[in-house]
């Protein structure tokens, strides 16, 4: 359809250049939201955007919008965005690729003096990771009306520093009211953070939505006692009960194969002593499925399993759902633009549901949204070992360009 090609080397150079802001000795990045490192990468990004003629505006939660102007046609912007903050000892690609890929698309459009029907924007969403200020996706959540600006400003890090004050300190407390910035569409390019594309030898994931997620906290109560002096038949071992539940929760997800996942990722044992029978076990449960109905059934089975396993062991428990995020279905028209963008570029693609949360999941509430995934090495992310290839980063960015132009052409045909 069109012959615009992104510059793969320029993209890679940007990824590697900005990786110095918060670089770790093992090749990763520690760049938590609203730190000096975040400030430095924001300054770099703003300068790069201004350098190609973009106008950068900032809203009251620090979201950055770099707009390339166009003929005045009355359309709201087509956005491309993700986040520049990282996990502690995180990788060089999670989030960053979505912003710098968008920058590369913008540079390509600028270089070609390509005229779009709608303005095109790059967005850097603030505090996606949620590591420093919980919850995750805080500022895209404000943008989408899920949280208020006041709520965001009042979030504190573990040292008691507030989001609002830190935003001001690094110079990114903007004047634009969060959420009043209209978008017609948003494309987010991201690494998959899972192993599916790699396992199937595919280059592009056409993301059709984000699965539903529910988080639970469970405490199992037994009786702390001496490991040597307490016979087996008089024990109330909280860890044995928790262990059986952990196995059973894994089995629940397998009953709803292939799309369900269930994970106990965090466990704490009290008193956690070699020669003491555990009296109390705290653990978390993460259940996900692309269907909210199935998720409800998984939850119900988990609750059945807790009672069925723990009561015969004379253990008691508390269980509560602490977070629930319904499934997100991206817009079919925007998804179709990604599919066609991948076809045009000749990449092997497949539809995929995002297992992780993303800014796009919130933005889908207020704009036509879709995502593009590329493989990452062994599906690993949130780790210094996170890796994506030169070729795959370029492929994803080319598909991003193609998809944006597809969507722009749709607007033009209205």
């Amino acid at each position: 359809m069109q012959a615009l090609r992104i510059n793969a080397k320029r993209l890679w150079d940007s990824l590697m250049e900005t990786a110095k802001f918060g670089a770790t000795s093992n090749g990763g990045i520690t760049r938590l939201a609203l730190t000096e490192e975040d400030q430095a990468v924001r300054d770099w990004f703003r300068a790069a955007a201004v350098d190609i003629g973009c106008t950068v505006t900032i809203d009251q939660v620090g979201n950055m919008f770099a707009r390339r102007s166009n003929r005045t046609t009355g359309f709201s912007p087509i956005a491309m965005g993700s986040h520049l903050d990282t996990q502690p000892r995180g990788g060089k690609f999670d989030g960053v690729l979505g912003v710098l890929g968008a920058l590369e698309v913008m540079r390509t459009l600028q270089e070609a003096a390509y005229e779009t029907n709608a303005p095109v924007e790059i967005i850097n969403w603030t505090n996606e990771e949620g590591t420093r200020f919980a919850p995750a996706m805080l500022a895209s959540g404000v943008f989408a009306g899920v949280f208020t600006t006041e709520f965001a400003h009042s979030r504190q890090d573990h040292e008691g520093k507030a989001f609002g004050a830190e935003l001001q300190r690094i110079g990114y407390l903007g004047s634009e009211t969060a959420g009043l910035h209209e978008l017609v569409a948003m494309f987010e390019l991201h690494i998959e953070q899972g192993p599916i594309l790699g396992a199937e030898g595919r280059t592009i994931g056409v993301v059709t939505g984000v699965q539903g997620m529910r988080w639970y906290e469970v405490i199992v109560f037994g009786q702390q006692a001496h490991a040597g002096a307490t016979p087996m038949n008089l024990r109330k071992n909280a860890l044995v009960g928790a262990a059986r539940v952990i196995d059973a929760i894994d089995a629940i997800a397998r009953r709803f194969a292939p799309d369900a996942v269930a994970t106990v990722g965090l466990i704490e044992c009290c008193p956690n002593s070699r020669n003491t029978i555990p009296g109390e076990i705290f653990f978390t449960v993460d259940l996900r499925h692309p269907s909210d109905d199935v998720l409800g059934e998984m939850e119900s089975q988990m609750r059945t399993v807790l009672r069925a396993i723990l009561e015969p062991l004379q253990l008691t428990f508390q269980e509560k759902c602490i977070w629930s995020s319904p499934t997100v279905a991206f817009d079919p028209k925007v998804i179709q633009c990604v599919t066609r963008g991948a076809e045009q570029a000749g990449y092997r693609a497949r539809c995929i549901v995002s297992g992780a949360g993303h800014d796009a999941a919130y933005i889908a509430r207020v704009a036509l949204t879709a995502m593009i995934f590329i493989p990452c090495l062994n599906g690993i992310s949130h780790s210094e070992a996170e890796s994506a290839t030169f070729e795959d980063c370029a492929a994803g960015t080319q598909v991003l360009l193609n998809a944006v132009l597809e969507f722009d052409a749709l607007l033009g045909s209205l």
Copy 2:
């Protein structure tokens, strides 16, 4: 046989009076070895022993021997002893009862001007708990030739303070060479630290030995990955593997009922994050049985289970035995003295194997040894909630007196 009766109230008063040295607000004691609190209780104990005519000597690892002289008959002393140090936020009875019960026996003998055939001694063993200076039972271990005096002196607490220097600082670095102090027998009165006596409504446990104990450390290796984006069939979840092993280890002990116990008391998950599949699990295993052969079979089954469970899950593991303590059989003649002592006093008794380690387990290598258990509330120890009744403390002390006199009579009949 004889009409000597201990003074239950005097015993209880001593327990409560010394409980002020390191008293916690919740009714427990924090009296770690060689601290000011330990020094204070040692000073109190020495004064109380001197007050009834005992001679107190101290060896090079701080063990205190309070001897009541007798007609010179050529026998080495019959000792009664335990320890005055406690766990952090420990209870008022663990160890303390064995020393103050012995003091009460001595006071009763003195009051009655009772002439024994052998000298009688009270021993306060240093640093039984091992909380401040690892390992536990350090000074009785030196006495029994398990460790050298130099080894003991070089042990450091977490602030880097050495056992030898701290012993000197509190004034309890004695001149007597550790282990040269001959004993003909040693009786240790102690709370059970388990629930068996309480569950059966018995007052006295006639301890026939200490079970064998083996400690292991296991690490299960999987693949850390994103909990949302990694399908079940591509996971290597270290926690699911560890959970199955924990359940299987519990089952091994139940196969060797009623005497076997097996406990995973400590577990650590890496990275321990709600939305990350655990990549690595560290856990400890504590196996105990009164027979070393059975213990060997339990160990073998544990190793089989590790392979059988983890290999199909594509998990790898490391396992190593970090400590092995063979079974201890107490001396039948001394055990018989305890049995007869309980019969004379009219208490319901049963034979029992100690599940916990004690100074007596080491002393059994160098002297005829046995122990007397009394119930403790719900089997709880190493806790401020540790509790024993006035009546049970008195009962155990009466049996201690009776057993010492039984043994002394045996000596007299030689």
